[in-house]
Point group: C2
Chain length 357, copies 2
């Protein structure tokens, strides 16, 4: 792609401009204050004078990669600048061994309790990146029924516990008008299990629609309830969301401003919006970086997300990642997220992978 031979690589920036942009982003991420030509010279030896750097800076600003808070200040990367840095300039290194060891160590010696795993994953992510983290429970798109259990908790209340192929367990209660006995429920449990085991929600819907009714009276309504609950669980793209490390981001200077922090907290608390962002990553490949001000989160310009899917697509997959300031050490965060996602892949494979038999 180097068509001109003058250091113009790819399509737009010269080698020196790229170097300036890279140094500037790195310096800004480290120092959290606007970077001027002087600082840049001091930082990396680039063999030119400050005046040259200044003109490059002016050009980069004109091209939309940088922004100047005010005339006599240094430059700050724009969203476009971060995006360019992340995609073209950042060293995409593997997480250093000590970090890998530390993470690996924390993941050892824990029992096979999915809830604890996910909580731990969120904690580890938050801790190693000094940011907030999100982790969703693994989940399959059209999971099949593994087991249903109906339990009488009261004379007219039925507790349903639903276990799906993807390992998720769901529960809900239903009030029926008549008295129910555990004996009758146990029979019904067997019937439903025998009839619908290994079926998806859609298949169950079809089965019910076409077959003559299995039962009548309140058991029929229980079956109906079971089917609609299956459907509901099936439609959900993101199940439970685990979070950790909100306190970490409070250390960042950009969140001295309470309003800025509020945007981040809102982001974490508004489940709906968060779900949209997470769902996008669920079907993506590899680590996704969403920079504040970009598409799905235009209004939260000082927050970025580094997310990765994990698990086995179509079998049990979720999303995990980091939520932090836009001014974030992306290289480190990306490699951490990637590494933790790979770890989770391993776990999921162990738990849900193809049986050897």
């Amino acid at each position: 792609m180097d068509r001109t031979g003058t250091g113009r690589i790819c399509d737009d920036l010269t080698a020196r401009q790229r170097q300036v942009l890279r140094l500037l982003v790195q310096e800004y991420v480290a120092s959290a204050s606007p970077v001027g030509s002087g600082t840049l010279l001091r930082q990396g030896q680039m063999g030119v004078s400050s005046a040259t750097v200044r003109s490059e800076l002016a050009l980069l600003e004109e091209l939309g990669y940088l922004h100047q808070p005010h005339t006599s200040a240094g430059r700050v990367p724009t969203t476009k600048g971060y995006r360019y840095y992340i995609e073209r300039l950042m060293d995409n290194v593997e997480l250093p061994a000590p970090h890998r060891m530390m993470i690996g160590h924390q993941f050892h010696q824990i029992r096979l309790n999915m809830d604890q795993w996910l909580q731990l994953t969120a904690a580890v992510l938050a801790h190693t990146t000094r940011s907030a983290s999100v982790v969703t429970a693994p989940h399959a798109a059209h999971s099949r029924l593994k087991h249903i259990q109906l339990i009488a908790t009261h004379d007219t209340l039925v507790l349903m516990v639903l276990v799906l192929q993807d390992g998720s367990v769901h529960q809900e209660m239903l009030a029926v008008d008549e008295q129910v006995t555990q004996d009758r429920l146990s029979v019904l449990t067997s019937q439903i299990n025998d009839l619908f085991r290994n079926m998806t929600a859609d298949e169950i819907r079809d089965e019910i629609a076409h077959e003559p009714p299995l039962v009548t009276g309140w058991p029929a309504r229980v079956v109906e309830w079971f089917a609609s609950r299956m459907q509901e669980v099936d439609l959900r793209t993101v199940d439970e969301i685990y979070q950790a490390g909100l306190a970490n981001v409070l250390e960042q200077p950009e969140f001295e401003d309470v309003a800025a922090f509020r945007r981040l907290v809102d982001m974490m608390e508004q489940r709906q919006r968060l779900e949209v962002v997470l769902a996008r990553t669920l079907t993506a490949n590899g680590v996704q970086i969403i920079i504040g001000g970009e598409r799905p989160i235009e209004e939260v310009y000082d927050v970025s997300l580094v997310l990765s899917p994990y698990g086995i697509r179509e079998k049990a997959s979720g999303v995990l990642g980091v939520v932090g300031p836009t001014r974030m050490p992306y290289a480190h965060v990306v490699s951490t997220v990637r590494y933790v996602a790979r770890m989770m892949d391993g776990l999921i494979d162990e738990v849900y992978g193809e049986p050897s038999a």
Copy 2:
């Protein structure tokens, strides 16, 4: 107790001092800035001059109820002042009807899904009090086994789903060395259910210790695992914790200071410490108010908690409440928390109460 006849009631403060303290707390809660004698006079008609109020203020400060940030500022209640206000001066009114209606309305039309109920409860508490909220899942101290189900998810992995009398559902996986079949697990499921149903964790421990072993080989280890998991669940005082409304407290002026807000976030994120506080309320009667700087949370002096147990003691009970700034409209918050706790009582009774049969 009015021994002197000069307005000295109970034991310590005169009627006028109490009036001054009450007005001051109310005014401070409303305005968020130190209250002086002038403001106090303007607020409530107390028929005395500012000089008199000043001397009362000076006395109240000497007694430790008030604090003066600096010489030329007004007074601010101390922890002791808040405590006195809450216990002796606050109007303990019922939540006004419009609020009651709004809350009641939000609670209607939701299905019997405990998870959603608790999430909603947290949201409603946070919304009506404009603070953060915490709600724990209902839970019984020594709950009996209702149902256990063992499911083969893999050739050497067993998923156990545990349903207890208190309605809680617990799950965990176990890796066994040998191949397991669902058939064998189903048999084991029936055996365990038949043998241990309606027993507490302790009873199950005893039974296992004294009876000859039910099975040998890996099924024995599954039984052992089941028993230890029961024990573990039984020992837990607080199960899942639901939170909401952290963003609300960011509106409060005292949390302009990031450090202060950090203390609150830490409070909410450090599960261990939060559990200690919540567990204390679990065994208490009625609404508990923990003021920042007081016993279990000495170091978090700008945060207060208003908590209430709910549910049926020994059968299914939890804690719910509000976490907000010490400068909090206690009367309103207390009546909200009380009202919501009563609502939850109703639900719990419906779900776990004595069967009519």
